[in-house]
Symmetry: C2
Subunit: 211 residues, 2 copies
């Protein structure tokens, strides 16, 4: 939504950062590593989390954020892992306060890894840390080859970038090298090339997530 | 961003609506019809506007909104139509105030139609009217088949919905009928099926836009 004035804006970020720090302390105390998955709607965040649950032999918990509904929640639920659904209503991002409440619904003694799926867009989530150890953006080649140039901030504050649906690149006449060049220039981060549907590239991502 | 409290939130929407009404009055005085194109990043908003410029024999002006950069602006500029670029920085939507300023840079006596391309996401733009006569959402089959269920509001406040990249539906194993059923249930609006790349469905959309 709208930023009212600098005073209020600063407060919101400060309050969020304070709660994010509390979350990180709690997770550290419990020996849990957490990852915030950001990215556009339809980029494949949920399917990537599903593939990681399949591949990774650790106790995983998931927090799923959506504006409304529980479609993604149901998909994760099928894997029998602890999962909490957050509906943000009109908000375009998760924030630390919401995560703090969601964590009350997960037994933190029973998980080693926490995956958080953020709200699907490349604008709002960037400014709101959730107390995770790593943040990543999932983009899909079907979104075109200009999303890094168009939304530099979210890539710059991330620790890793997943370029998903690479099997569609040729079909859609998308040049992945163009995206990679933008990343190198604008936000030189660890990049994973995946096709979550076929499972391509998931092994490498899973290995990195575990380490 | 975050909604602070109800008082402030109400004010923002009221102020926006007031300016939106002023814009509509101005456009009506000038005999200009305006359309707000909303939709996710990569859904094909820019290409659809390009195709409409090619097809429609009217004097068209365009306002292009992006968080940063001028990629879309340059694409429209090539057509030789009046076009204004708005960069919103961290804001995830255009608002009436920004449009009011952008209109100062267009000679309103020289256009009959105004297309506004909103910021690419399905959450924020919904709440901010821009003084246009119609609002539409462009979605792409590559985003999956659950976006209407996941973001009902933006479809409900729209006058028309464009389902784009339909040529990819089979390849991506997406059932368009599932999307159409959601639309019928959640937001029964005028629907156009297009593939902007090949030009499929653009004639019908162009005809409707002109009428």
């Amino acid at each position: 939504m709208h930023i009212i004035d600098l005073g209020v804006e600063k407060d919101i970020y400060e309050v969020n950062r304070k709660i994010a720090n509390e979350i990180k302390e709690l997770l550290d105390k419990k020996g849990i590593k957490a990852i915030d998955f950001m990215g556009s709607i339809g980029s494949g965040k949920t399917l990537i989390i599903e593939r990681l649950i399949e591949k990774i032999d650790r106790r995983i918990g998931v927090i799923v954020g959506d504006v409304t509904g529980d479609d993604d929640y149901k998909r994760i639920k099928k894997y029998g892992v602890p999962v909490v659904n957050i509906n943000t209503g009109k908000e375009c991002h998760l924030d630390a306060h919401l995560i703090q409440h969601a964590l009350e619904d997960i037994n933190l003694d029973e998980i080693d890894l926490l995956f958080i799926e953020n709200i699907g867009n490349l604008v709002c989530p960037a400014d709101f840390e959730l107390g995770t150890h790593k943040r990543g953006v999932v983009i899909s080649v079907t979104e075109g080859d200009d999303m890094v140039r168009k939304h530099p901030l979210i890539f710059q504050i991330s620790d890793f970038i997943v370029i998903n649906k690479i099997d569609l690149a040729n079909y859609m006449e998308i040049d992945i090298n163009k995206i990679l060049k933008d990343i190198e220039k604008i936000a030189p981060k660890k990049v994973f090339l995946t096709d979550a549907k076929s499972g391509k590239g998931i092994d490498e991502l899973a290995k990195w997530v575990q380490s």
